[in-house]
Amino acid sequence: MTRQRWFTPWLLVAPAAVWLMVFSVWPSINTVILSFTNAKPLGGGWFTGLDNYDRLLNDSQLVDALINSIVYMMICLPLLTLLPLLMAILVEKKLPGITFFRTAFYTPVVASAVVVALIWGWLLDDRGMINGFAQWLGVIGEPLPFLTDRWLLLLSAISLTVWKGLGYYMIIYLSALGNVRRELHEAAAVDGAGPVRRFWSITVPGVRNTMLLISVLVSVSALRVFSELYVLSNGTGGPGGRDMSVVMLIQLYSRGLTGHLGYASALSIVLLVITIGPMLLLLRLNRRGA
């Protein structure tokens, strides 16, 4: 019987451990350090105390971004918690051809957010299909400014996020539905409970933990939104730059002449603070699940 040499395991974990330190642990620490400096893409890097945090308090773009994030979350949360569950129930039964439907419903998830945003940008264009069709039907006279009005642009980005996310959460629900006991459904059906009644009193309680998990995932990803808003607004952040998300602000300050890496790091801390609540909840759920 051989015994492994003491350093063999370390040799195997070494690459991953190095990556962990260089690209996760150190950047986490460095984000905090940088947030107290005036680091710029070119030069700078002196400690400036709380200057960046002072600036945060008076940043009207950040206020807009936080409002946008809250709106984003409030709309995504119910839609992406409920609709994918209904879709999962729809594709749960193994009907002929069901794999095709599952695959097709998942397609928006594998597409890049940039691709999806460009497709929707064309659909929602002043002269695009949605406006054209609505005008043809006579529902609207003038094209709706989906991409140039502050709130319409935000709503467009939200619909895009929802549309792109449905399939992902559907698959998570699908694996959870497998664990809901079939006998309960049968018993309830025998007792005369209709499909709607069975949905609320058996399916929903049965996937309760998954539902909580998904609502956390949805909230956090709504707070982290970037590509949809960036591409739909063509990098401008909408009229007056009022359709920025926090991540868009971080990106804005990361480069070019306006770049301010110190301030971008302070914004990163803001992002951490707003996502930490849902994330801690997720950790607790994971622990309970394990």
Binding site: T8, A16, S28, I119, M129, I171, L217, V220, L223, S254
Partner: protein, 283 residues
């Protein structure tokens, strides 16, 4: 009750009809935007795409727009850049995550618990929070504005280490113990017992790393400056910003980015669903 009459496992014809009708409605909502874009990309310049009732099928299908994209931006070299980044990320994850996952799951060593805890802890941290300091690190390594700089941070993703750990963990202890008693070295145990039993998860890691790298936008946007170095997603946004006046070109560009992924996905979809179910923690 209808359900009782039909029995629970057999579905009544009416329910079947309702289900298929709903499936078709959702199908239309899900894939018609892609088909619309594909159609737009095949429409010739003579065809009016701005009428109130544009036709779903191109009148005279043409590939001119695809050539047009290549005249406007170096789209094939962008695709090659994306492929390069994706290849580095896939290779890095296959090697790095497999080795670490195996060691954490099957070998006992001092500090393993602590290390494992650190891996887990980084999973709950949204990547965007550290993206600026990651950029500072990459720049410090002299890799700003390079493809290697884009690929490196994701070349061993902590989530993949965890996935490989789970897969190795699932191998029955007895199989491994027998090998240990026979005097197998760590390397032999990994090669002959470990790897053959985690093939499914290796596919999951491969596909997800590939798609993640291919689709990524924010990180390459931050790292890359020189338009020659752009990956496909950054290049498409550049095309959109500069040549927004011709939707046919943009449509052709999006299809160049989208089609390889959708073909890969359609071929390997069963691994996807497994991966989503098992990797759900990351989001």
């Amino acid at each position: 009750m209808r359900a009782r009459r039909g029995g629970f496992n057999t579905i009544s014809t009416r329910e079947k009809a309702v289900r298929y009708a709903l499936l078709l409605v959702v199908l239309a909502l899900t894939i018609s935007p892609f088909l619309w874009q594909l159609s737009t990309s095949l429409k010739s310049l003579d065809e009016n795409i701005y009428t109130a009732t544009p036709s779903f099928l191109p009148e005279h299908p043409t590939l001119d727009n695809y050539a047009g994209v290549a005249d406007t931006i170096p789209v094939w070299s962008y695709a090659l850049n994306s492929l390069t980044v994706a290849a580095i990320v896939v290779a890095g994850n296959l090697i790095g995550a497999t080795l670490a996952g195996f060691a954490l799951a099957k070998l006992r060593f001092r500090g393993a618990k602590l290390l494992f805890g650190l891996f887990l802890a980084t999973l709950v941290l949204p990547g965007e929070v550290t993206i600026i300091s990651q950029y500072v690190t990459v720049r410090g390594l002299g890799l700003a504005d390079t493809l290697l700089g884009v690929a490196l941070p994701g070349a061993i993703a902590m989530l993949n280490v965890l996935l490989m750990y789970t897969a190795f963990q699932a191998i029955p202890k007895e199989m491994d113990e027998a090998a240990v008693i026979d005097g197998a070295t760590v390397w032999q145990r990994l090669r002959h017992i470990g790897l053959p039993n985690v093939r499914g998860m290796l596919s999951v890691v491969t596909i997800f790393s590939f798609i993640g790298a291919w689709d990524d936008f924010l990180w390459p946007l931050i790292v890359l400056n020189d338009p020659d170095n752009y990956t496909l997603t950054v290049g498409l946004q550049y095309l959109n910003g500069t040549f927004a006046n011709n939707p046919r070109l943009i449509a052709a560009g999006t299809m160049i980015s989208f089609l390889p992924i959708v073909i890969l996905f359609a071929t390997l979809q069963r691994f996807f669903f497994r991966g989503v179910a098992e990797g759900a923690i990351k989001g």
